[in-house]
């Protein structure tokens, strides 16, 4: 499992966009580095991050090798009512990770 962190505000106003911060712990190997023995380290990156609110996709990102190690993403989501915000990520080896948080709207 790929570890990560998710932060949302404790409470938000209905219909007001709130900030979502995501940090994924991943080396994001770009395929241009070499190990101590001089062998090429193959590309190994998180290539998809998606965010659902109440089970519905509201935001997603396709990542390439140009995203820094330990990808950090900040974006906004607008909610009419309280619900669960879930962020999921997957890398090119098929390994996954996720984090979720309750959003109190009111």
């Amino acid at each position: 499992m790929i570890d990560g962190r998710l932060r949302v505000p404790e409470s938000v106003k209905p219909g007001e966009p709130f900030e979502v911060r995501v940090l994924i712990l991943h080396p994001m190997e770009n395929g241009f580095r070499h190990d101590a023995a001089g062998r090429e380290i193959p590309v190994h990156i998180v290539n998809k991050v998606s965010c659902t609110y109440g089970g519905r996709e509201v935001f997603s990102v396709d990542l390439g090798t140009g995203i820094s190690a330990n990808p950090y993403l900040v974006f906004f989501v607008r909610a009419g009512g309280s619900g669960v915000l879930k962020v999921e990520w997957i890398d090119d080896a098929g390994e996954r990770g996720s984090a979720s948080a309750n959003v109190n709207v009111g």
Binding site: P17, F32, H34, V58, D62, G66, P71, Y72, L73, V74
Partner: protein
Amino acid sequence: MKRRHFFASMFLPLAARAQGFRSPADASKWIAEVTGGATPEKAGIELEMPQIAENGNAVALHIRVTSPMTADDHVKAIHIFAERNPRPRVATFHLGPEAGRADVTTRVRLGGTQNLTVLAELSGARWRVAAQNVLVTTGACLDEGSL
């Protein structure tokens, strides 16, 4: 093999690998490919990133697209292109009215001093573009040992 060909074959890989010798990928070609030939408007995108980055491994990038983000008028996608990166397509963000704000932040790798181009796809097949030059003192894509 002719002597000059031998020398060329010896030095070409080196030159190609050295930072700065790589010719930039054509951003206008990429724009045409993504937009399907539409001409993007040069307005409505705010790019916030350092003009000088000491370390190309993690350059903070904040993109804001002016949009009401309603069902009829919203930003659908934001594409990032780094012309001097070995793989210039950095990332694509997909969003919609549920985002409420077309405002994204991330950290990017830059292989050297270059123009970073951001393309926004809006509802109604409208496009916007913005670019900024970043001076990178130490490019990404290098082994730690060679720094």
